[in-house]
Structures are given as structure tokens and as C-alpha cells.
């Protein structure tokens, strides 16, 4: 869409998380405002993985953090299990935040280098879990074993003694130990080698089956996202472009931007044609002064006068497939 609208939202009472009109803005120097996220809406059902895709600077990480109220969004609603987190303050918020955990991009810098792994993973429990250290350790051990780390060996080691892939698994254990309702994975595999990436992705899938996790999976690589997601939401410059069931999106991308992202994925086949005459050039415009109307219009090959003046709204193109575009690549359903 680079547009808005809520046609794609499902009934509120069936969703674990429902985000409406989320706006995140940051002040920038000289009185300007960075419009990081400008009114997006989405929802996630229990046990579902939502892939949030877009280029750097499209607001996908800001969205992930806004769910945790870090910082609080400028406006909008973040309803987790029927409760709007934006309204909560202080202690009530702190309590609720245990239900959402986050896994960060750089696994090594997201673990405290001076603490032992046993302490790092037990940290959330020391605040919220059982008081008894033995009980804490039993929970920590279970989670470390679940992510394939030898708990007794790891307990007294430090982060630097582990590889990037192992650190990422430890971060996952730390996120799981609170038994959260929702886990936000912010580019969890983009710092890893392909071989390790495959290990982590497979593990996330099996943990999801085992613990019934609900995930928001933020990434810029569409191939990675397809492997883990049930639904995919494509973001561009703080707006939502397209929301769809994953296989449907990859088979019939309706937004020109989704198509560009798909065509940019390198294909490991020397015979696959490489589009050397890229139709869509350029980079993301500045979020301080985003284009009027459809935000993608400055790079879109199909842009018309309408796209300048009017912001597109979410429209249904197929079952569980919505697009915000004036000139979608797929016929809109009546």
C-alpha cells in the first residue's frame, strides 16, 4: 500500500494480537519528524507465524518494538488477548510485557558478555519466575535442552565461548523461558551462514510445533520468510502493501513492490534468467518527508496521477489475500 485500510483484519475475538492504526514517529533534528510507521493494521491468530517483510527503513523493526511498547507508539492500538497495551502504564505494563518476548538480529551482542549463560537465560525468571534457584535452573535447563544446547556445559560459560548460531539458540531459550504468548523475531537469521541459518529455521519450526508458539518473524529475505510463515505482510516506508496467506502471495503477488522483492531474491540456478534491466530502480525515499498518496509511487512503474493524490486502501483480491494498490497486478474481487 503503501496505503491504509483494515479490510484484511479478521474477527477480533479470534486473534491473539490485533494491531490497529499503529503510528510510530520519532523527532528528528530541526523540527522534522521521522514517520517510521504510519497507520498499519494487522492481526495474528494463535499458533500462527506472521512474516513481516520489507527493506531496511520500511518500519518493520519499529513495528516489532512498538508491539512491546518500546517505545510506546505515537498512536494506535495494540490489543493482546483483548487488552490494549497502549493504555497500560507502569507496573501493569511491566507485568504484561512478560507475555511478549523478542529475539534480536545479532545473537552475540544481544547476550551480556560478562554474565554466564545460566544467568543470562535465568534472568527473566529471577524477576518473574519461581524464587527457588533450583526450580529456576530446572526451567532454564529444559529450555536450553530444547534448543539443543548442553545445559550443564553451557551454564558457567560466557557468550564469547559460543558460535553465532549457538548464541542465537541461547537467545531463543531466553525468550522461551517465560512461556510468552507472542515472540517477535527481528531478523533472527540474517547474521548467520546458510548452513547455520537452516539449523535455526528448522529449530524454530519444531519449537513452534512443540510449544504452540505464535511468532512475528521480521526479515528482508522473502525466501527465508516463506519457510516459516503462515501469513506474510509486506511493508513499505511505514505502510502496509500487501497481506496474504504465504503460498498465495508467492504465487500471485498483487503489489508491484512485492513482485520487486520476489524478483530480487537470488536463485541458486545458473540457468534462471537474471533481470539485468531492473525496472524498479532507486531506494527508499526519506521517511522524514514521505511521498504523498501511495508511498511507493516514486519507484513504481505503474504509477499514475491517482497514486499521487489518493492513498490506496486495502482491497481483497482473493481469499485471505489483500492489497493496497490502485493498480494491483491481480484482479480485485468485487
Amino acid at each position: 500500500m503503501a496505503g491504509s485500510g483494515k479490510a484484511h483484519l479478521r474477527p477480533a475475538d479470534e486473534m491473539v494480537l490485533r494491531v490497529e492504526d499503529l503510528v510510530v514517529e520519532f523527532p528528528s533534528g530541526r523540527g522534522g519528524t521521522v514517520h517510521a510507521v504510519s497507520g498499519i493494521s494487522f492481526d495474528i491468530a494463535e499458533g500462527e507465524t506472521l512474516g513481516l517483510v520489507g527493506e531496511s527503513g520500511c518500519g518493520k523493526s519499529s513495528t516489532g518494538r512498538a508491539l512491546l511498547q518500546l517505545p510506546k507508539p505515537t498512536s494506535g492500538q495494540v490489543v493482546l488477548d483483548g487488552e490494549d497495551l497502549v493504555d497500560l502504564q507502569g507496573e501493569a505494563m511491566r507485568r504484561r510485557r512478560t507475555n511478549i518476548q523478542m529475539i534480536f538480529q545479532d545473537p552475540i551482542s544481544s547476550l551480556n558478555p560478562r554474565r554466564k549463560i545460566g544467568e543470562v537465560v535465568a534472568e527473566p525468571l529471577r524477576v518473574w519466575g519461581p524464587r527457588d534457584p533450583d526450580e529456576q535452573w530446572a526451567l532454564v535447563r529444559e529450555m536450553l535442552e530444547a534448543v539443543g544446547i548442553d545445559a550443564d556445559l553451557a551454564r558457567d560459560k560466557h557468550a564469547y565461548q559460543f558460535s553465532g548460531g549457538q548464541c542465537q539458540r541461547i537467545s531463543i531459550a531466553r525468550a522461551l523461558v517465560m512461556e510468552p504468548k507472542l515472540i517477535i523475531c527481528d531478523e533472527p537469521v540474517s547474521a548467520l551462514d546458510v548452513s547455520v541459518q537452516a539449523q535455526i529455521l528448522n529449530m524454530l519450526e519444531s519449537l513452534k510445533d512443540r510449544y504452540g508458539l505464535t511468532l512475528v518473524f521480521i526479515a528482508h529475505d522473502l525466501a527465508v520468510v516463506r519457510h516459516v510463515s503462515d501469513r506474510v505482510a509486506v511493508m513499505y516506508l511505514g505502510k502496509m502493501c500487501e497481506v496474504s496467506e504465504s503460498d498465495e502471495l508467492y504465487a500471485n503477488p498483487a503489489h508491484p513492490y512485492s513482485k520487486l522483492l520476489l524478483e530480487s531474491v537470488p536463485i541458486p540456478d545458473p540457468l534462471a534468467p537474471i533481470d539485468t534491466e531492473i525496472q524498479i530502480e532507486g531506494e527508499l525515499p526519506s521517511p522524514i518527508d514521505p511521498p504523498s498518496g501511495c508511498r511507493f509511487r516514486t519507484r513504481c512503474p505503474y504509477a499514475t496521477e491517482l497514486c499521487v493524490t489518493e492513498e490506496p486502501q486495502m482491497q481483497k483480491v482473493a481469499d485471505d489475500h489483500f492489497v493496497a494498490c490502485h493498480h494491483p497486478l491481480v484482479e480485485v474481487m468485487a
Binding site: 551462514d193 548452513s195 520487486l260 524478483e263 531474491v265 537470488p266 541458486p268 539485468t276 531506494e283
Partner: protein
């Protein structure tokens, strides 16, 4: 003028560290004809970056030792003094690094970083150098080149910074360009643009290029030849099409299988490689990949295979039980029957992680393999050559390579 611009023979780069000697590059030989592109692929720690830096003589650390031979355009680079190398850098060979933020000086304007070595190498005056730099910025498709000329690196996006780095590398018209993971830090859309830019510049300038990456997808359509590195050695080298259609080395197969593919349905299980690369201070006797290889046999743990040629010109591999051979099929069958962890992981029967029991004891392996062979010979049932979910590419590959060899 010989046809080959670069001939590397038995190149070894070792680093002395407190724990011992790290054999980062351990006997690499390759040759590269003019105007061709070689892709060097491998995981972190496979020695691919050290290889390209060694060829450029950029390993300046006092604990680094490089031996072997690097013939560039008929001259031995290892005999050059640092002063002589300075004439070669920039004018003859140049490098684009992985991280465009740290390879530019953050407190110097882009323009000066561009003109600096043009003035040094080509002896241009201030205004000529500026003209040349602006022309370079335009040729790498940087919009508003004049404005960017006076910008600091932090004022540019990651993609723009990488374009500046490419402009700097190309400014003195090198004959050979090293691109060391040039797009790993970038978005997919920008990656696509930068790779196209590199390809276009290479065609225009008839440059020879070495493209280093961990992603086989990146090199697939953009190189003439690919060398797959593992633990400091080349384990397979082939013309690009041959490598993808008739790969022989299990590591190449595993790397290819681990890539998430955009055309596979959601929740498809990836074929991960068990364990992680070996310790280069004490590399294993025998094949370095043995501890992670689904086809490992006792011989692999005793003796390291040498690069052997195939009937296809330019295709060599180092493996005792290459993909597509009968020996390989047999190794898979016995390992499946014996329950060797690597093989079970490749078949998707157990979860592959870095810590899964990947060490294989030689005597134990010999024992289980022998027992399994006896069972197979007596007709005991087992799960079939590829198990229920064997590696996806296996059957097709076996079929296509049998025809080729």
C-alpha cells in the same frame, strides 16, 4: 601476454596464534583467464576471504605467513616489496569489501576518498581528479553526484556507500577486481542492483573478477566458474553450469540444499548441515568435511582426498565417495543402516544442530559400517537409499551425473 591473468599455485596462508598455527588457506591452486569471473563460495571460516586477501598481499599482520606462488600477469607477486605492491593496488587489482560503513573513512568526505588515490596513482591535478571522481560516481549510478561528492559516508544509505566503494575500487581502472561479500550487508533489492552494477562494469572494462560469497544463489547466474572452499582448501571447482547440474562433492550438495528457496511451499523443512567447520589449528586427519558428511566412510577419516579431474573440462573435486557414483550410493545405504548421525540428519530423521554428535570415531565407524554391510549383504531390510525424506536433490543429481560421467 598469456591467456591467464592470474595463476595461483599451492598458496598457503598460516597465522601464528597462541593456540598454534591456523591454516587459513592450505594449498590452494587456481588460474583465472582474462575477463572471466570466478565465484569463491564457502561458510564463514572456510578461508575464502583470507584467500582473496592473500592474493592481493593484504595480509600485513606480523603473524601471517604466505607461501606458494601467485603469478599475476606474468609476475610473481610474492616477490614484490610493499612499495611495489602499492603500485599494483588500485591500478592493477582492487577490492570491494563487505561492510561499506567500515571500509570508508567516517570523518573524510566521499569526494576526497575518491580523489585521493586517483591523484596518487594517476598523478592528476585537483580539478582533473574531481572531474574523474564525479564521472565515476555517475558511472556507478549515484544520483546527484555533485551533492554526494561533498557528503560524509554516514549521510548515505548502505547501498549508496557500497556504490561509492565500487567507484573507489574502479577509479584507477584495475584489470582485476576482488569483491569480498559485496552484498552481504545489504537488502535483497539493493543486492540485486549492486550485483548488476558489478556485472555491467566488468563487461564494460573487461575486468577479471573474483566474487567471494557464502550464498550460492548470488554466484549462480553471475560467474563463469565456481570454487567451493572448505577448511582452507578448494573441495570442488567447476564451470558454473556444471557445478549446479553435476556437482560431485557432498559439501557443495549440502550448501545448495541448505539455501531457503523462494519457490518451495511454506514450512518446507530445510536440509541443514550437521555440526560446524573444523578447528583450523588442529585440522582433522583425512577429509576435513568427514565429521559432517552423510557419506563418511572409514577411508575418509584416514586419508585426505586430492582434487581429481572429471571428464568435464575444468571440473575437479576432492572426495573419495563423490555424489553420483556407485560408491556414494553404497556409502549412503550402509550409513543409513548403521545409523550414522550425519546421515540421519541429512535424511531429516534427526534434528541437525551445531552441537549434535558430529565427531566420528574411526574404529567405531569401521565397526558399524562393517556390521551394516554384513546386514545389507544378508538382505536385512532398511529404509531405502534416501530414507523417507532423503536429500531433495539427490535423485535428480545422481541421474544427471551418471549420464555425464
Amino acid at each position: 601476454m598469456s591467456d591467464e591473468l592470474l595463476v595461483v599455485k599451492d598458496l598457503r596462508t598460516y597465522f601464528e596464534v597462541p593456540a598454534g598455527t591456523v591454516k587459513a588457506v592450505d594449498g590452494v591452486s587456481l588460474s583465472l583467464p582474462r575477463s572471466k569471473t570466478l565465484g569463491v563460495v564457502g561458510e564463514s571460516g572456510s578461508g575464502k576471504t583470507v584467500l582473496s586477501r592473500s592474493i592481493m598481499r593484504l595480509n600485513m599482520a606480523s603473524n601471517a605467513m604466505t607461501s606458494g606462488s601467485i603469478i599475476y600477469d606474468g609476475e610473481e607477486l610474492l616477490d614484490k616489496t610493499p612499495a611495489e605492491m602499492q603500485q599494483i593496488w588500485g591500478e592493477e587489482m582492487a577490492m570491494v569489501f563487505q561492510d561499506p560503513m567500515t571500509s570508508l573513512n567516517p570523518v573524510v568526505k566521499v569526494g576526497r576518498q575518491l580523489t585521493e588515490h586517483v591523484r596518487y596513482h594517476l598523478g592528476l591535478g585537483r580539478s582533473e581528479a574531481k572531474e574523474q571522481a564525479l564521472a565515476m560516481l555517475r558511472s556507478v549510478r549515484i544520483p546527484e553526484a555533485e551533492a554526494r561528492f561533498n557528503a560524509y559516508p554516514h549521510q548515505l544509505s548502505g547501498g549508496m556507500r557500497q556504490r561509492v566503494c565500487i567507484a573507489i575500487a574502479l577509479a584507477c581502472g584495475p584489470k582485476m577486481l576482488f569483491a569480498d561479500e559485496p552484498t552481504t550487508a545489504l537488502d535483497v533489492t539493493v543486492q540485486h542492483q549492486i550485483l548488476n552494477l558489478l556485472a555491467a562494469q566488468q563487461r564494460e572494462r573487461h575486468m577479471t573478477m573474483i566474487l567471494v560469497t557464502h550464498d550460492l544463489g548470488v554466484v549462480a547466474g553471475r560467474t563463469d566458474e565456481i570454487a567451493v572452499m572448505y577448511a582452507g582448501r578448494i573441495v570442488e571447482k567447476a564451470p558454473t553450469q556444471t557445478l549446479f547440474q553435476a556437482l560431485r562433492h557432498p559439501y557443495t550438495q549440502a550448501l545448495l540444499a541448505a539455501i531457503p528457496k523462494v519457490d518451495e511451499p511454506k514450512h518446507t523443512k530445510l536440509t541443514a548441515i550437521i555440526g560446524r567447520p573444523p578447528d583450523l589449528v588442529n585440522p582433522p586427519v583425512g577429509c576435513a568435511f568427514a565429521a559432517r558428511c552423510p557419506y563418511v566412510q572409514p577411508l575418509c577419516l584416514e586419508e585426505a582426498p586430492e582434487l581429481t579431474p572429471t571428464p568435464t573440462p575444468g571440473h575437479t573435486f576432492a572426495c573419495w565417495y563423490p555424489i553420483g557414483s556407485e560408491e556414494n550410493q553404497h556409502a549412503w545405504e550402509t550409513n543409513m543402516a548403521a545409523g550414522v548421525p550425519q546421515t540421519l540428519a541429512a535424511a531429516g530423521e534427526i534434528e541437525a544442530t551445531e552441537d549434535t554428535e558430529a565427531e566420528v570415531d574411526h574404529d567405531h565407524l569401521a565397526e558399524v559400517v562393517e556390521a551394516a554391510e554384513a546386514d545389507l549383504a544378508s538382505g536385512a531390510p532398511f529404509d531405502g537409499p534416501n530414507g523417507p525424506d532423503g536429500p531433495v536433490a539427490e535423485d535428480d543429481l545422481a541421474a544427471s551425473t551418471e549420464g555425464a560421467s
